[in-house]
Subunit: 474 residues, 4 copies
């Protein structure tokens, strides 16, 4: 998509609606998904609860592809809906893995949208299979559906069943579960992934991965869902259950601030934009440079470039321009031409004959960086001092981020100096790991991908397509 090729990928965005009266809830979902599209571009879906009858549409593709006018218009006005936009972490990218998943169990229907990654999914799935369970998908969301179903058979309420079911889960999960009567949202006790809720003027509740999606539909944020908290939206309003709060240390994903989330979102009280400005400021102090201008790699590098500029006094400039028409169907050039040059252009005026500071949010494989640097050199940049708003990636993530395998992570195999040479910059500086608390004002975050200290037991087989693989081996 509009992300350059060797970026990290976020996994998903979730969105839910509970309205006291029938309303165009599918439309709310549609605009909510547009606001969350950056969290996943592989597929999306909306399930509407029309008085107990679930009406749904899901497919691979962007919101704009999956929901043409006639499909959107075919949804009835209703009181509840749940929606999802997907980037595959566990499970392949086929149509059957698109969420929300919908299942029928003994007590009725249920739709589930999940953002995160269950680190003990393999064990849970294995147990369920031994009891006769069959799986239609390879996504870990279906495991959650089974656990809730099993509990539901012996509990009087869906919220009680969900509360018991999540006890078995390890890892990251921000869930929205829709039953015939209720909309339930749950955030895991570590709080890896964001989740918040708000209200529209007519009282309709909106739950979403990021606050930007609340604003998109004209809702006002009430607050973040707390790590471990469950909210139950039903006829009697909203009810909070906190039996799983404070059972684990809070470990928010720091990369939501650095790269994943939209700058206009505020997560757990911290503005994403502000944390990126702060990253730039930290870099200016940690890795000063003698330069004429500071530029950022769009989009998330722009905020940090302003921070670097402010802290260093070096003027901020605009140089790298993304072609906003490059979409999913863009055909990569075969031979003589250069995809990066088509997606990104450099304003020569800004950099010609200048010493520049170039801010990006991360270096994964380094290939895109090298292209950009070459383009800036051709545009006349005299010196290039690259500054990165994250520490080097050294360890895999088991909580829903698509960090490449160690063999592809440039930082696992090369020193900073080697990397600088490989990508062609004069100097290179990463954000120091011990400065990370400066980004969000606390230390309640997960930094396992930088330092290897995992908040949960680590799974043995972590390949994204592990279930597909295992099935083939049987």
């Amino acid at each position: 998509m509009n992300r350059l090729s060797d970026k990290l990928h976020e996994e998903c965005g979730v969105f839910g609606v509970y309205s006291p009266n029938p309303a165009p809830v599918a439309e709310y979902c549609y605009y909510g998904l547009y606001a969350l599209q950056h969290r996943g571009q592989e597929g999306c879906g909306i399930v509407v609860n029309d008085d107990g009858v679930f009406v749904s549409h899901k497919d691979t593709g962007l919101v704009s592809d999956v929901f043409p006018r006639e499909v959107l218009a075919s949804f009835p006005d209703a009181t509840m809906a749940v929606a999802h936009t997907r980037y595959a972490t566990t499970g392949g990218s086929g149509r059957s893995n698109v969420q929300p998943i919908e299942v029928n169990h003994q007590k009725g229907r249920m739709a589930i949208a999940h953002n995160g990654n269950i680190s003990n999914a393999a064990e849970l799935r294995s147990e369920l299979e031994l009891s006769g369970a069959i799986f239609h998908t390879t996504s870990d969301t279906e495991i959650i559906a089974y656990l809730v179903t099993k509990e539901r058979l012996r509990t009087p309420s869906i919220e009680e069943a969900v509360s018991r079911a999540v006890e078995a889960l390890e890892g990251a999960y921000s869930l929205i579960i829709m039953s015939p009567q209720k909309l339930i949202c749950v955030r895991d006790p570590h709080g890896f992934r964001p989740l918040c809720y708000g209200q529209m003027r007519d009282g309709t509740y909106i739950v979403a991965s990021e606050s930007c999606a609340l604003h998109a539909v004209g809702a006002t944020e009430v607050r973040d869902v707390e790590p471990g908290e469950m909210l139950v939206f039903g006829r009697t309003g909203v009810q909070s259950r906190k039996e799983h709060c404070n059972t684990e240390p809070i470990r928010r994903c720091i990369f939501e601030y650095i790269y994943f989330a939209r700058p206009d979102s505020v997560i757990d009280g911290v503005s994403v934009h502000a944390s990126r400005i702060r990253a730039g400021e930290i870099l200016a102090q940690a890795h000063p440079a003698d330069a004429d201008i500071v530029i950022g790699v769009p989009d998330s590098g722009l905020d940090a470039a302003i921070g670097y500029s402010r802290a260093s006094g070096i003027p901020y400039g605009i140089c790298l321009i993304k072609n906003k028409y490059i979409g999913r169907t863009f055909i990569k050039p075969s031979g003589r031409m250069d995809a990066v040059r088509i997606k990104l252009a450099a304003v020569e005026e800004t950099v010609k004959g200048k010493k520049i500071v170039l801010i990006d949010d991360s270096i994964v494989r380094g290939t895109t960086c090298a292209h950009i640097v070459r383009m800036l050199r051709e545009a006349g940049a005299k010196e290039i001092h690259m500054r990165v708003t994250a520490p080097p990636f050294l360890h895999p993530c088991y909580y829903g981020t698509d960090v490449d395998s160690e063999e592809h992570l440039i930082a696992c195999k090369h020193t900073v100096e080697e990397i600088a040479e490989m990508i062609g910059v004069d100097t290179l500086g990463y954000l120091p790991v011990d400065e990370l608390p400066g980004l969000c004002g606390n230390s309640d975050f997960c930094s396992a991908c930088f330092d290897g200290s995992y908040p949960t037991p680590v799974p043995s087989d972590t390949r994204k397509d592990r279930f597909e693989q295992k099935l083939s081996e049987r």
Copy 2:
């Protein structure tokens, strides 16, 4: 589709391939589905087993819509495949109900294609739900998948599990089940629906609902699968298991001969074309007419018209011509125009000033008949003597045929004379129930829709969308 609006509908066609060596099995399925398309036009799918990895594509629509060139080309050469073309009997017509269904269980993957209708599905589903099962679809094929999975956990082989699982099933089922290593086909002990198999010159086995599909791919028919028989195709060839044979009286669906099957198919040793010719001959004896010409309503009325002509000596003529371009996307005329007149044209030359015998295969609601009769009158027919190759429909079918509810069946509420007047013919004659054995030369058929004598216990709730309904009521 090309069937007129108030016809009965068949439910499904199944097709399977087992090849000793990798071959374009998806292509075989594609052409096999084309040959079985008359058995279901709502959706279709192909699942290919590429050395344990299942590659599938399914969607609502005709074979030609669901499998464009690039999709067909994307399937790998492989040794096994199973395919399905669907008309919904149980379960709505949405995408999730399209078959073959694919599930993953503790011992691996499984794909199932099913033609028929399980008459005790509601009871089975209920039991499974109480044990914690979740259902993604509302089709009864998923119930079969669960039963096989449960048995598979405690049996050493998939064929043994299937054999045990089908003991719980009542009703009609012609099944093809694909496991990582084997292709298994089963026909219910009553033999309601057809199933046969053949072989290509290179030894590849083909299983199909009708023999016309064997010929389409260049295979030679070996024989019909016997009622109650299971065939297991695997590395060591084909193995027949007959533990469920002769456990129930044989009750083939007589309507396969009258209307559903293609005239070039031979089912259980009886040519469909011959049985229709015979129906015409029986009608000529039972309901003679003083007429100048015999014409048939295409397609299945044409064979019977020849039979009537031969037995009566009245010349056979061609009069009603179907527009062969009317397809799924044909837009029904809104007001002044007449859909029947666009789909079907009358050759005036044939009927002008003549007394005609008109042969059709059934009268469900009578509306299409009335249109055709009016068109023939306008074309100058002097007298119209309608003859129907089936007895009147009086009872619902629980074995996979979409007989309308009794309130819509014209024969439930009117005498033959009344119906003749309603549709505007001079005389009307149905095939007598006691002449049915003449069609296929034996009495091993189900005639419950005509006489109400059901071969299995009758379910209490038989609505096609009963699972959808029940879910909404929870």
Copy 3:
């Protein structure tokens, strides 16, 4: 499409509407085009005249593909429309050649639909180009548009301009021309292609290539447009101009009766169905056979088979069944399978152990015949006596029929006995050329493709893509 591969192709169908009051004229066109779809499947279009504003939609593809519901619904109610379904004779098959063509000239707009082929098109085009004309298409319809435009500048009425313009044309043309105020239809003096008109109950006039299209929209035929006649539909009703009648001998295309037209159409007073029955009767007398059954190749062989059966006393049977789902998107099998076998199936019951007479309408290259014969042999036919309802093709057609080049015409290079052996039949008999008058009861037809006696001067370069070629050579 549903025609087998080596058949002749008709070029086009035209359809026009003139209504006294605003009416759903686009809908009439839609159903009219469905009825004329057999005359051309490459593309189609509708142009509606909404009080002087032309609203149009055209594209390559079948009526069902080109006009989805939302497109059809987007046409306004109006008083006039013209429509076209195309098979390319002159001009390639690209989108720009789809008709009706619409042009703007000094006096306003004009839309033209044309069925036929102008034999002096190259000369006319050359002259126009020398006067500065530019051509957007390679179709000869644009030449007609120029000629009418040039005349229109110096005549007071569009009908006068059309009358003068057609004087320059040689060859076949059945035209419908729509101006802001009038609908004009013209048939060339030889009457090569059919054209007729009728009226709906509310007085709306319908013009169409064949009478079957009048019936499809519920209109009653008034009469055929006479060769050379022009009809002008306008506010004051319909006016006939006959200044070009009887200027040339009438030369209807005999192949309209033999193969192109629909059997329920009546052309110039002769039923197409009847003429085919008659062809069968003629064949029975000219080429009798000692056989058990007569079968026809669908669709046009079926009528003639009845004629043969009646005249010979040999019973008529049904054996070859076309798969009615094979459409435009059918993917031809690559290797091991046989397309003919998928498109056409043989009912073994009918032919097993029998001596058969097989009736087809023509043999072009002979490849399909050979496939069918092989299939019948495999189904057990003991002897096959093939009878063809046309004489052998020996000469190219310049009047709108796609007769293959002489090098591909099997009859140009082989004797009847050789052909019989090549296609594998026991005996082969063509309809004798001198019996052709028997088909339509007169001798006013063109038989140039059989005997080379052309009614007009013959063009020097007759390649279908001659304009494309010439352009490339400049």
Copy 4:
């Protein structure tokens, strides 16, 4: 598209290729059109010249929609191509008006791509019609085709014919014309629209509306085409003809700098980015403000915001974020929600409690401005001082810019103070007309839309659909 609703629209982008040897010229066009997509999103097309045979594909829609992979792959390698991306100025937006137009004339084929607007088109068209010309489109490009064709009949070379033909044209035109042997580009003597050319490393020439498209395909800019100049690319290289240079005063469209062109383009020696920075600096001096932060409305307001920040010393901030997934198929919200809020989000962090300077490039109707201002107020902005990088629009443009009719131009009916109140800002300042030379360092520009001083005679009827209208009136 991604432009907000009440913006001005540019009309078109043109792109041409002349390669000494067969090359993937369609691919070059594809990437070139991507780079020029901002100049027109209604339709696009590519015509490739494969040794005299023109292969083309055109349709309404974005480059990504019109050219899927299989279409792009179907173009042959060739030596020449011309491409176009369109926003309709004259002529409706239907498919027939998509360019390049292709015509055939007496000397062969010709394809034309045109950016601009011919101000005497009505008169020229009228004359041509009186000589018998027919028009397929309502675009003024077809007029140019006729003029060139007429001249070509009496001149020995295409370039001579083009040179004579353009003498009749008044107004704006940057043309690329492809004949079987040559690629010709022409820029009108006023130089209203940009046009430049460059060379790839292998010697291939590229012509494009903006230099950004040269860079996208890896070409190096040679220079701008001069106002009035014609370049002829052929076997003997490139030839410049200047007979029309210096026949009129140079009048570049100043709005190319202010809004239309991409910031990384350099037009006639002036960097677009630099001219926007300069606009911000001018505004800072002309309309200073007491504020805490300067923000820009993306995209073109961002550059100017940096200029304002630098000249004023007020810090630059990022606040308004465009949703980059909003595309052509985005469905506008019906009732309760606000499209602007979905397309654009405000970073509260940046503006909360602050006095802000807001920079935009123009105010047309003022409705979008008002929405943005409201959004900023809700995000907590204390004061909003709006600065506009153009003077107020007061007069229509006849040279290819879609300035709204005077009745819709807010500046025609209200004072600056009134407008400030209507859109809700505290102060409002436009760029003073007499400061415009500061943007590009000279006075060779057209400022008719601000001051009414038109460089050519003004047409009487300037409606975009004037030809459609006139035709309906005949």
